[in-house]
Symmetry: C2
Subunit: 360 residues, 2 copies
């Protein structure tokens, strides 16, 4: 069967022919891959900057944002049946006894760093025709959200942040009302974050580099949020748009993330979800930032990856989005291409979310 | 009666004679001040860098870390009686209806910034003989901790951080075990934080600028913690002492706080409690710091001030300390001086915690 694989040592990236997987364990499930989303990590892997093949293999099948259909289940599988749609979780636990997170099924908090990630590090991904996976790593996706189900995985970033935030806000003995939120970045994660905050009734500003007349800005406005372009409002003037009770960073840029902290309100929370690629140090008034964090009881936290429970929350979130702003959700997916067209698409970023259709 | 007051406009700081206060409201309590601790804020006020007199007054009576004795109570007072020892809380709520924090009695989270603070801003403090205060701002201190009861107020910084941390750690579905903690700074707050973490069974390193042969380092070792001097281990080598699950910053220095974040473990929490005085920007790899925060699910939060419930927690904490390491707690108080000696003492920092004895 076909698969899209990277050969890091040879700097090759191409369609390969691989043997079809078979059910081995009682809890195994055979999945026909329908769609796989493309994200920045896939681009980095395709450019040989990232990605590690499984032990003993010289290639890595890429792809980690998958929507599939159950074809066949092992004898102990109880939660899934042939025909069900599923999202496949990405990270697999480390085997260290000392890792309380992986032992608790929360490998998104793995403390050893010895986890594997399908399509990214030491485990093959989903840009292929068939995948076999243990039931525990599969989450059912209702047929009602079939056409956007490939967004479940990217939405987990936002769903996890939301769950963490909910836990953290319990420290206040009052209900937050009229919350103002700033979303940094209008990529898929930023737009999904805006939808999540909008669905919670917050007042939202999305700040990004795209001009005010652009498809992403239109999409932001279509869900009822405000779009502010960096063209009109430079970084050092973002605080005039605030103060914001919440900042959701999805720009992957430390200068933007720390440079907008002066827009954070007392008791404000800043969620960091972007991974900055840059190396160059820059000057910033960290004394002033720290004074504000202390004197205003502020908080910054980072969030990465997601476990099964977060995928389940993400499914519920996506169902909710589809009742509130279905058109906006559908418009997030700007490209649908075949496996054969994918290598070219990976070399040039365009649109919002690009999706590989493996089987329709 | 005598009081120690600052006249900011005239740049004067001296003992003054003020009228004795009287009980006015049914819930008022008359308190004879016994001891008042001195902190960095008092030094700043005495140097005319900080502090605001009450409206209509040209002077501000300073002092906010008070231990007093109840002399007389108004007719509606139920929780206190003459002879009781009390700690007096510092911050008074703003009167804005829009402030959910002050309305919930949690003025430490005040969102308007229009609170008053006794001895600091717009309300007289406690370096005087008699104080009248509403019962709701007074917390009973058991006679068993009488000789260190003046530490209740500084300990609230640590008690509040501990309560916040407990709330936040509920996001993990496992019990943290074998926690390693780094305390930055060996001033009174740093030392009290080390005691709190030690009392919880954590493994602790206190990192500060004092040499390894110093009274503060001795005190750290006496509670069973490790002391590392900046003389032996420069800032950029602190990560070799870790990784730490918790960093408690009490050095008031952004370069130290952010410069040690590379010692923070996955899922680690950094608590900022110090208020940096410096203005000068410095170079630091914020891209790397942000990458770690995201990829390791880390958190940074600031904490300031404390409300009644935190003072109550602080009293319980201090009682506990006195059962575990009573000598170390007593050794935190290195100076006891009279009100008359206080102006000189405020101009020269020495020892650990200096206490003004108003009435013994």
């Amino acid at each position: 069967m076909r698969a899209l694989a990277v050969f890091p040592a040879r700097r090759e990236f191409r369609i390969v022919d691989v043997p079809a997987p078979v059910l081995k364990n009682e809890a195994d499930v055979m999945i026909r891959v329908r769609e796989v989303g493309i994200c920045g990590t896939d681009r980095e892997i395709a450019a040989f900057h990232y990605g590690t093949p499984p032990e003993g293999s010289e290639s890595l099948v890429i792809g980690h944002e998958a929507l599939g259909e159950v074809l066949e289940v092992g004898p102990s599988v109880r939660t899934l049946k042939p025909g069900d749609l599923v999202a496949i979780t990405v990270r697999r636990p480390c085997t260290e006894k000392s890792c309380p997170a992986c032992r608790a099924g929360r490998q998104d908090f793995c403390v050893t760093g010895r986890y594997r990630e399908r399509g990214i590090t030491q485990a093959h991904g989903f840009m292929t025709e068939l995948v076999v996976e243990d039931e525990r790593y599969l989450v059912r996706v209702p047929p009602t959200i079939r056409d956007v189900g490939v967004l479940v995985e990217p939405l987990t970033v936002v769903a996890k942040a939301s769950i963490e935030l909910g836990m953290i806000l319990r420290r206040f003995p009052w209900e937050p009302v009229g919350v103002k939120a700033l979303v940094l970045g209008a990529g898929p994660i930023g737009l999904l974050a805006a939808m999540m905050l909008e669905a919670r009734g917050m007042q939202i500003v999305v700040y990004s580099r795209e001009p005010a007349a652009s498809p992403r800005a239109d999409l932001v406005r279509s869900i009822g949020a405000r779009y502010v372009s960096a063209d009109e409002t430079p970084l050092n003037a973002v605080s005039t748009l605030g103060p914001f009770d919440l900042v959701f960073e999805a720009a992957g840029n430390a200068r933007v993330a720390f440079g907008t902290l002066d827009a954070l309100a007392p008791n404000g929370v800043c969620i960091l979800s972007g991974i900055p690629g840059g190396q160059s140090p820059f000057e910033i008034d960290l004394n002033g930032i720290m004074r504000n964090i202390v004197l205003k009881n502020q908080m910054i936290f980072g969030t990465v990856n997601a476990s099964r429970s977060t995928f389940e929350a993400s499914v519920r979130e996506l169902e909710r989005f589809m009742t509130i702003f279905p058109d906006a959700v559908r418009r997030l997916i700007t490209h649908r291409v075949s496996l054969e067209e994918t290598p070219d698409l990976l070399r040039q970023a365009s649109g919002i979310k690009q999706v590989v259709v493996v089987a329709s």
